[in-house]
């Protein structure tokens, strides 16, 4: 596995970081390796002191973001839910200093997150949304051997004694060609964070103030975001929105076949939904056909804006990547795009994408992606994205149209593809990714973990 720096041909400029990288958990700044192997473990704390003992033992093994652009690629990450912080015995005034959406949890914010219909928490996989998920531990590595070693270290800290129970363990891993469950290379576009120590890749800018992603630093408004108290708990910590999606591969393939009579037509339609071809090559730079070399080139595959595609004739206004980062698209609502970005760590589980799967049975095969959305205001940003850019279309003049990849489609939904002389509207778009669970986690800094672990009472 190449380091981030090596993967872009060594052309990654670095400069002295201004963030406390050795305090910030590794997963915040390190991109997911490729290939990758990993496991998400969800735990419940049955006894406060046992939970703190577990934290005292695990904390020395949690990876930091120090030298994230060239460091080794195996790390453990930990997040703690509000119920978990309660179970660990955090003082009341500290608990009350967390934002409301975090305190009540993701399931209780279903209305604000538009997690309704098939995505309603009542359909979620156990133990999501039950209030029992206290801690999430993720092991991630670029090699199977190192992944197993990291997971063993994590297990040794909670299997040895009672008071901490495993609720669910979910392995995930690299798929052939590093494709997601719908057959795309993804995770290409990540926000560039000021002071993190690396120059942005071409097209990755503008550089965004660190306080939008990590607590304790000035945000885009020039002041730090509200931070849980005491300071040692908040500074260098952040929040994670954890979302498990199941991909309905059959429904996706059926849709492509219903609206494309040749392989070329189907692949163009698929690319129009995403805004990129399967290789990762953006439609903005490769409007006619896939370009695998472009897709694989980190110096070029994100190096574009929409100045020459104002109407979306190349990348439709409603395509997935244009919704998730509109860049310079003219929006109908006054918006500062920099305020609504998330660091995304996507991990794929289950069998790889099967282009021939068209049955409804194929929709039910457990395969999909677990996302970790990281931001110093992850709850507010996720609610904004779900309400405004995912399950809505008004922000780009598309009425009720929704994100074709992660939106929840209503009966008779459509997708508009701008075209000359008239746009094409594809009807009958289905929900291709169904939400199967989610939790909000606080992702403490290394010092914050130590502080929590050494609480008494």
């Amino acid at each position: 596995m190449l380091s981030v720096k090596e993967s872009v041909g060594g052309q990654l400029g670095t400069r002295a970081p201004t963030l406390d990288l050795d305090e910030i958990q590794a997963i915040v700044l390190r991109p997911r390796p490729a290939p990758y192997f990993g496991t998400h473990v969800l735990l419940r704390i049955d006894d406060a002191e046992a939970g703190r003992e577990f934290l005292r033992r695990l904390t020395p093994h949690i990876g930091s973001s120090a030298h994230w652009w060239s460091a080794a690629h195996t790390w453990l990450a930990i997040g703690i839910s509000y119920a978990g912080l309660e179970a660990l015995g955090l003082p009341q005034d500290s608990l009350q200093s967390f934002p409301e959406a975090f305190r009540v949890g993701m399931a209780a914010r279903a209305r604000e997150l538009r997690d309704q219909g098939v995505n309603d928490p009542k359909h979620w996989d156990a133990p999501f949304g039950t209030g029992q998920v206290h801690i999430g531990v993720s092991a991630l590595s670029d090699s199977e051997e190192n992944w197993r070693r990291a997971l063993k270290i994590a297990r040794e800290q909670y299997e040895a004694f009672s008071g901490v129970s495993v609720l669910r363990s979910q392995d995930f891993g690299f798929q052939p060609g590093d494709l997601n469950p719908l057959g795309y290379k993804d995770g290409i576009d990540q926000p560039a964070i000021e002071g993190s120590g690396a120059e942005p890749l071409p097209g990755q800018g503008p550089v965004i103030k660190a306080g939008e992603f990590i607590l304790g630093y000035p945000g885009e408004a020039g002041v730090p975001l509200p931070m849980p108290q005491p300071d040692i708990l908040g500074r260098n910590s952040t929040y994670v929105g954890f979302r498990k999606y199941q991909s309905r591969v059959g429904a996706f393939n059926r849709f492509l076949r219903a609206h494309g009579s040749t392989e070329e037509e189907r692949e163009l339609l698929a690319a129009k939904l995403v805004g990129r071809w399967r290789s990762g090559a953006p439609l903005t730079l490769a409007p006619e056909a896939d370009d695998a070399v472009l897709g694989a080139d980190a110096q070029r595959n994100n190096d574009f804006d929409y100045a020459n595609d104002v109407r979306g004739l190349k990348a439709p206004l409603g395509c997935h990547i244009r919704r998730m980062n509109p860049r310079d698209t003219q929006l109908t609502r006054l918006t500062d795009v920099n305020l609504h970005r998330l660091i995304r760590r996507g991990t794929t589980y289950g069998p790889p994408y099967d282009p021939n799967a068209v049955s409804t049975e194929a929709d039910e095969i457990p395969r999909g992606a677990i996302f970790m959305f990281i931001s110093a205001k992850a709850m507010a940003t996720m609610e904004f994205l779900q309400q405004e850019w995912i399950d809505e279309g008004n922000f780009v003049g598309l009425g009720e149209e929704r994100d074709p990849i992660i939106g929840r489609q209503e009966e008779g939904a459509s997708f508009t593809i701008p075209h000359e002389p008239v746009r094409r509207r594809v009807h009958g778009i289905d929900t291709f990714n169904v939400l199967r669970g989610g939790e909000y986690f606080f992702m403490p800094s290394i010092s914050a973990l130590t502080w929590i672990a050494n609480l008494s009472g």
Partner: protein
């Protein structure tokens, strides 16, 4: 501070039409004669409204929504000289609210000076949840917001990161909310205006 009603905590009504009519009769039993007569004469029409499913939703933490359109109403005490300053400013604008145009989610706004110019009643209809875009206002139009809100007591400034909470603290939920086209956002209305005009032009050419 005005009395707030957390609309989310309103009792859920699940009465039948007959029960609702009965309830109306009880409410109006001691009403002035005009009201009693109006109830009896107006009952056939009123029954239709009472029989319809609830069209009311909550908007964010406080306030009501119908379809995509929400209401926000705040009652803000003026600082000393604030009423005079804001009145002068609004008069100079002569009805041109460019910042509101730019926001794109605002349907209307009204500024009402009450209690001998000691308080401002600000009421607006807007799309979606109000708090989703407040940080964007702070980033994009802080001056436009500060220019009028600085005239109100305790306003922390758009750049403080505390304006959202301050507005919530002064918000009063409407008891009821009516929207003629609850499914049309401000953006959608403008788009349909253009589409309608284009269709007429097309028909002119054909005809």
């Amino acid at each position: 501070m005005p009395t707030q009603t957390a609309t989310a905590n309103r009792p859920k009504q699940s009465l039948t039409v007959d029960e609702k009519i009965q309830k109306m009769r009880e409410l109006y039993a001691d009403a002035p004669e005009i009201g009693k007569t109006a109830l009896e004469n107006g009952l056939p029409t009123l029954t239709q409204a009472l029989a319809a499913p609830s069209a009311e939703q909550t908007a964010g933490r406080i306030g009501l929504r119908q379809g995509k359109v929400s209401e926000l109403c705040v009652f803000l005490p003026f600082v000393k000289g604030g009423a005079k300053r804001l009145r002068g400013f609004l008069q100079l604008l002569e009805g041109n609210f460019r910042a509101a145009d730019a926001v794109g989610t605002v349907h209307d706004m009204r500024f009402v000076f009450v209690d001998n110019d000691t308080k401002l009643l600000f009421a607006t209809a807007y799309d979606g949840d109000f708090d989703e875009y407040i940080d964007d206002f702070a980033a994009k139009i802080p001056n436009a917001m500060d220019l009028w809100l600085c005239n109100c007591e305790g306003y922390p400034g758009m750049r403080s990161g505390k304006a959202k909470e301050w507005i919530f603290d002064h918000q009063i939920a409407a008891e009821a909310w009516y929207v003629n086209s609850p499914n049309l956002t401000a953006a959608e209305t403008r788009r349909l205006e253009k589409v309608g005009k284009a269709v007429e032009e097309l028909l002119d050419k054909i005809g």
